[in-house]
């Protein structure tokens, strides 16, 4: 195998798993709450900065910082739910209000990150260092960890949704909210749980990714856009779609980058998604309106 090919494949799988991880959170929230969370990138940033702070100021190892960052992201997402989402649940204009509110939260977070830290790029140490080479391409162990974690999380989320009580409640709420509340499922609390879980996923993505891209107050924006594209591509609200589409788009983008140059990657992905929407408007695993998750 040529170096270029391996490089493209490795990059594709790595980024694909990252996009999938981000998209998983978005798609869960969309499926259950019908909320397009444009603060997802901000939650990513919250998780990364908390982890960075734990490592740099408290001098703790990254393995301690990782869970703290993830928890902080989940807590932040839940707080956002309490303040800005819960008051408008079930009210007319829910979509307008939450769309703008999440945009507002995301700008507030990046401003706060500049104020508390500074706009300079930060480095979070990788969870595991070291690398090896396969036909002259450096494979970092952190990259393998990211891919493994992402796949494991998809499996866990799938099991969680299928077999646990809370998971079943989430699916029930996303399928038929009124029927679910008649079955004594606390709908609003379930919404909060979904948003917190999605926040934890975003935070984890943030901590794991920051060794690759440097951390700055706006570094969540690009992964979020990619995750949004993945979510559409896979079908909004579909967990399986997020997994497959993440890898498809990641590998597609990576091959274009390696063979045609970085400048063509984004236009290529954009064209692919438009083509997809013309051919299959519901995405790869679009499940229409009746069943989600």
């Amino acid at each position: 195998m040529s170096t270029q090919f391996v490089q493209a494949l490795w990059g594709g799988i790595l980024f694909g798993s990252v996009y999938g991880l981000m998209a998983l959170g978005l798609t869960l929230v969309w499926g259950a709450v019908r909320l397009l969370n444009l603060a997802h990138g901000a939650i990513f940033v919250v998780g990364s900065y908390v982890a960075y702070w734990v490592v740099s100021s408290l001098n703790l190892p990254i393995l301690v910082a990782l869970p703290i960052g993830v928890l902080a992201a989940a807590a932040f997402a839940y707080l956002m739910h309490l303040i800005f989402i819960r008051p408008v649940i079930g009210k007319p204009g829910f979509d307008n209000s939450t769309l703008i509110a999440t945009v507002g939260v995301s700008i507030a977070v990046s401003a706060a990150a500049i104020l508390i830290f500074n706009p300079e790029y930060k480095v979070i140490p990788p969870v595991i260092g070291g690398n090896f080479t396969v036909s002259e391409v450096q494979i970092t162990k952190q990259g393998l960890l990211v891919i493994g974690t992402s796949l494991a999380l998809f499996g866990l989320v799938y099991l969680f949704l299928t077999y646990t009580r809370l998971g079943m409640a989430i699916r029930a709420v996303s399928q038929q909210q009124e029927a679910a509340s008649l079955m004594a499922i606390p709908v609003v609390r379930t919404y909060g749980m979904v948003i917190a879980i999605s926040g934890a996923l975003a935070g984890l993505a943030g901590v794991l990714l920051s060794p690759f891209f440097f951390l700055n107050p706006n570094s969540g924006f690009n992964p979020m856009i990619q995750a949004l594209i993945v979510t559409i591509f896979g079908g909004l609200g579909s967990v399986r779609g997020a997994l497959v589409a993440g890898f498809v788009l990641g590998i597609f983008e990576s091959f274009i980058e390696v063979y045609y140059g970085v400048a063509w990657a984004q236009p290529g992905v954009f064209l692919l998604i438009i083509l997809m929407l013309i051919l299959r408007p519901n995405g790869l695993f679009g499940i229409g309106e009746v069943r989600r998750l």
Partner: protein, 362 residues
């Protein structure tokens, strides 16, 4: 019978139904007064010490208000959740900038081309996306924004200027006018663009097209079943909105003498969004009021630095959730209570809190 009857009918015109022709409700005197005041204002302002500063603020207000109004037309009235407004502004700005910078066109000629290119770009985004549900529009327009940013930074040198944008574009020249005199001309030009955009948007809102878009926003199923072609209405609105956004972009390039890639920064979107939300989403006067407020407050809050963005973001989220109607309806209610001779007929604009279809949210 024909000629004579026609003449009598012509003479005995029935009284205008004001509710059916809402644009006639605005008195010519009010509009004329505002226009006259806007024309005289700079002549008074030059005599003040801070007059030039105030005039540049007004120019900024005109440009931003045009963009905010165009955005509100599609987002507030049309219910199209497009985030491509800043990108379209940039398209207009770059078109005009490249024409002047690389081809040596006259700026006055070049800004006439930028709205056209912006419309073409809008059709390019609109054709594949506007058939889809709202959430797809959000995602694809955000992706377009990002695409445009990457292209502006990494594109060919005559566009990217090496990554910073176009930094030395010729500005508007009005004969030999310099200093205050030139600012006055710039003010008039911006004011003209603002007036045209406001007038056209006002007419669009009260045209059959405008009624169709409000109907689509408030109950898509019902409107479509009454024979409104949703895709066509949305596409036309998108094009109108892009036209004025592109024009504002072209003006801004030659006003600033360049266009920088920082235009794509997220805070720009937030500023515009704040104008619409604070002023009143889906109301005619909202974005104008909001633009005035945001630009005015900016001058005081600029000392706060990054706290300003933090406050703006939280205020935006708070208003969107707790007071989704914005300030304009409040102003209108006050006017009706204390100043109007008789209660105004209910506004055409429907607040975002109006009942939506439960089935086609976002």
């Amino acid at each position: 019978m024909s000629a004579q009857t026609a003449a009598t009918v012509g003479l005995a015109r029935p009284a205008l139904d004001l509710a059916a022709a809402p644009w006639r409700r605005v008195s010519v005197w009010t509009v004329g007064g505002v226009v006259a005041a806007a024309i005289v204002l700079p002549l008074l302002l030059v005599r003040l010490d801070i007059g030039t500063y105030l005039m540049t603020l007004l120019i900024l207000f005109f440009v931003q208000a045009v963009v905010a109004q165009s955005w509100n037309l599609i987002m507030g009235y049309g219910g199209i959740y497009s985030f491509a407004q800043v990108a379209l502004f940039a398209v207009g700005g770059w078109t005009s900038g490249v024409l002047v910078h690389s081809l040596g066109w006259n700026p006055f000629l070049a800004i006439l081309v930028s709205p056209l290119v912006a419309v073409v770009a809008a059709l390019g985004i609109g054709l594949p996306t506007l058939r889809l549900r709202g959430v797809y529009v959000v995602l694809l327009t955000l992706a377009f924004h990002e695409l445009a940013r990457v292209f502006a930074v990494t594109g060919p040198r005559f566009i990217s200027g090496g990554g910073y944008g176009l930094v030395t574009v010729q500005t508007f020249q009005f004969g030999n006018a310099i200093g205050d005199q030139r600012t006055i001309y710039l003010y008039y030009l911006a004011g003209l663009i603002f007036a045209i955009a406001t007038f056209v948007i006002w007419r669009v809102i009260h045209s059959p097209l405008g009624v169709a878009m409000t109907a689509l926003r408030d109950s898509e199923t019902y409107a479509v079943s009454r024979g409104i072609n949703q895709f066509r209405v949305r596409l036309v609105l998108f094009a109108i909105s892009a036209f004025f956004t592109g024009l504002a972009g072209g003006y801004s390039t030659h006003y600033n003498g360049g266009i920088s890639t920082t235009i794509f920064d997220f805070p720009r979107i937030i500023d515009l969004l704040a104008m619409i939300v604070i002023g009143g989403w889906g109301t005619f006067g909202g974005p104008i009021l909001g633009a005035g407020l945001v630009i005015g407050l900016d001058q005081y809050l600029v000392a706060l630095g990054d706290y300003q963005t933090l406050i703006l973001g939280l205020a935006l989220a708070g208003i969107a959730v707790f007071a989704p109607q914005g300030l304009w309806p409040l102003l209108r209610a006050t006017y009706e209570k204390y100043l109007a001779a008789e209660p105004l007929p209910p506004a055409v604009e429907v607040s975002p809190a109006a009942p939506h279809d439960t089935t086609d949210e976002l």
